[in-house]
Amino acid sequence: MSVDEPTVRKIARLARIGIADDDVAPLAGELSAILGWIEQLGEVDTAGVAPMTAVIPNHLAWRVDQVTDGDVQAKVLANAPDATSGFFAVPKVIE
């Protein structure tokens, strides 16, 4: 699978990673090489094989439906780049 430049821009947008124009072509080459190598998986016959969901058989544990944590607003906000009046602050969303 060859990844072209529009595809690189699309993936970068989906991943919310800004990329410089100069980086698009080299990334297209790198991703094409990696995905080309990965494509050998297509030759494995997986008819009737279930995709793995849990590597070691386990079951989700039940617990009592009660609050076990909370009232830690200062801790939650301690690492925020911008915290205002007890909230996370972000640039304007609505024009």
């Binding site: 990844v3 595809t7 690189v8 993936i11 970068a12 947008r13 989906l14 991943a15 919310r16 990673i17 800004g18 990329i19 990334l27 790198e30 991703l31 090489a33 990696i34 995905l35 190598w37 990965i38 494509e39 050998q40 998986l41 297509g42 494995v44 997986t46 094989v49 279930a50 995709p51 793995m52 969901t53 849990a54 590597v55 070691i56 386990n58 989700l60 544990a61 617990r63 830690v72 801790k75 939650v76 301690a78 690492n79 925020a80 780049p81 911008d82 996370f88 972000v90 640039p91 304007k92 969303v93």
Partner: protein
């Protein structure tokens, strides 16, 4: 008298119990070693004040007679583990200055057992790398040199700071994490031991996530017995990790015998690659001979889907990473970059462009691509089906044998920049990735030296939850190999 920093953890425990030295003296010796070896860049943060306070507490516990199993043992903690009040970055610029408000379960268990934290160990960014060249805080250098060469060598990755610090006698042991070989490959590169337990043995709570279905914590130390001591403290059920296994944890150190009589050791024929380094083949054959001498029966086995493990891994791990790393958006913690006049979406992409390094961006983009509409089934679902087949290969092998013996890595440590092509770097994990995909316990033990005097490791893989069997085989190799080589600096 042996220098305090040369002792094994078992030796330190004996010396502390006999009052040959105090925990504060032991910690001070390691802090001095840490300072002297700063050139290796093994630590991102040094925590000497915390270490001395913990050592004093250990001395008090020793005096009272209620010391815990790791009282006073100086350890390094990989920077992937959240440590309350101490910066945790996962080797990434995007988490620079992040101060966790809580302690990861695994590091908390080690500290509760009396361990002393020397500092936070450098690593490949978000544990993505096999050479420690992707850290945003500078590369970690191995204390080893090849022959007469003066070239600096990689310590392996991603737990490269852990490997370098333990090999250079800065820390008695260290925590590592292993997603596709990140404990075993660096352990092999620097001549120490390291074990990745069964997936679910160690809680992932508070460990910065890379690929959640693969990530497992484990110990790295200078002997198999030391790994066993640390592993007992690190394992255990944790309700805060939904994949944590609720099974009893044996006292791994107490149960260690090294007895191989009656054990069947499988040798997977697919691990013998075309054009493989003859030194690695010779070491593997030596390992087989040691196992026979120790009383084991050798069985050739087949793991037919081995060659598909790496490509499956490079779909599954990036897919999970692209999802896990979506949380770094500049809102709740970490770096924020807002372009002048930019809106929220501009902030997201500028923050992630500036905060993530090249390899992390590459993997997020691969993951995003394989999970995107139209490609999901062809890539991700197919990879998870192949993963089922790889796990089934191992299940079939366990009908014929109890443990598997393989080389840990296809080469000895290489120099910085030698594997500039990402694909070539990925291939270094060829022997460690299959057991990661199957969630199996696996360990690397130093077994010999390359032609130019660099450490080489052998890997033992076990059945689910058979860490005890893996450690026994590791001890058998350790005894037979008599590996005493140590790095020059």
């Amino acid at each position: 008298m042996t220098a305090l920093t040369d002792l094994t953890i078992a030796g330190m425990k004996a010396g502390l119990a006999a009052r040959d030295f105090s925990a504060v003296e032991l910690t001070d010796a390691h802090l001095a070693a840490m300072e002297a070896a700063r050139g290796l860049n093994a630590f991102i943060v040094e925590t000497p004040d915390i270490a001395r306070a913990q050592a004093a507490a250990a001395d008090a516990a020793l005096a009272r007679g209620d010391a815990r199993p790791l009282a006073g043992i100086p350890l390094g903690i990989k920077d992937l583990f959240c440590t309350e009040g101490v910066q945790t970055t996962a080797g990434s610029k995007i988490l620079q200055g992040f101060i966790p408000q809580y302690e990861s379960t695994v590091s908390g268990k080690l500290l509760a057992d009396g361990a002393v934290m020397l500092g936070k160990l450098n690593m490949d960014e978000f544990a993505m790398g096999s050479s420690n060249e992707t850290s945003a805080y500078g590369r970690v250098i191995s204390p080893w040199k090849a022959g007469d060469s003066n070239r600096e060598l990689v310590p392996g990755g991603s737990s490269g700071g852990s490997a370098s610090a333990v090999a250079a006698r800065i820390a008695a042991g260290a925590t590592g994490t292993d997603t596709g070989g990140s404990i075993r490959q660096p352990a092999a590169f620097v001549g120490i031991s390291g074990i990745k337990p069964t997936y679910g043995r160690c809680s992932r709570w508070g460990v910065v996530a890379f690929a959640s279905s693969l990530d497992q914590a484990g110990p790295m130390a200078r002997s198999v017995a030391d790994c066993a001591l640390m592993l007992t403290s690190m394992c255990g059920y944790d309700a805060k990790d939904s994949t944590s296994l609720n099974v009893p944890v044996p006292d791994f150190a107490a149960g260690l015998t090294g007895d191989m009589r009656g054990r069947r050791i499988g040798i997977p024929r697919e691990y013998r690659l075309d054009g493989m380094d003859p030194t690695i083949i010779a070491l593997w054959e030596q390992g087989i001979a040691w196992m026979k001498d120790a009383g084991a029966e050798i069985v050739e086995v087949s793991l037919p889907h081995t060659k598909y493990a790496l490509p499956a891994y490079y779909i599954i791990a990036p897919a999970e990473a692209s999802s896990n790393l979506a949380r770094y958006d500049g809102v709740r913690y970490g770096l924020r970059v807002t372009p002048p006049g930019g809106n929220l979406a501009d902030m997201y992409s500028a923050t992630r462009a500036a905060g993530f390094g090249t390899e992390v961006k590459r993997r997020i983009m691969i993951g995003t691509y394989v999970l995107s509409a139209g490609f999901y089934d062809a890539y991700y679902t197919q990879a998870q089906k192949v993963r089922t087949l790889i796990a089934r290969d191992f299940e079939r092998a366990w009908e014929q044998c109890d443990l598997l013996l393989t080389p840990t890595a296809p080469s000895a440590a290489f120099a910085f920049g030698d594997k500039a092509d990402p694909l070539e770097m990925y291939l270094n994990d060829v022997f460690t990735v299959p057991s990661s995909l199957a969630g199996l316990p696996a360990m690397s033990v130093p077994a010999g030296l390359s032609a130019d005097g660099l450490p080489l490791g052998l890997q033992i893989i076990g059945r689910p939850l058979d860490e005890a069997g893996v450690l026994d085989a590791g001890l058998a190799i350790e005894r037979a190999a008599g590996f005493t080589a140590r790095p020059g600096r």
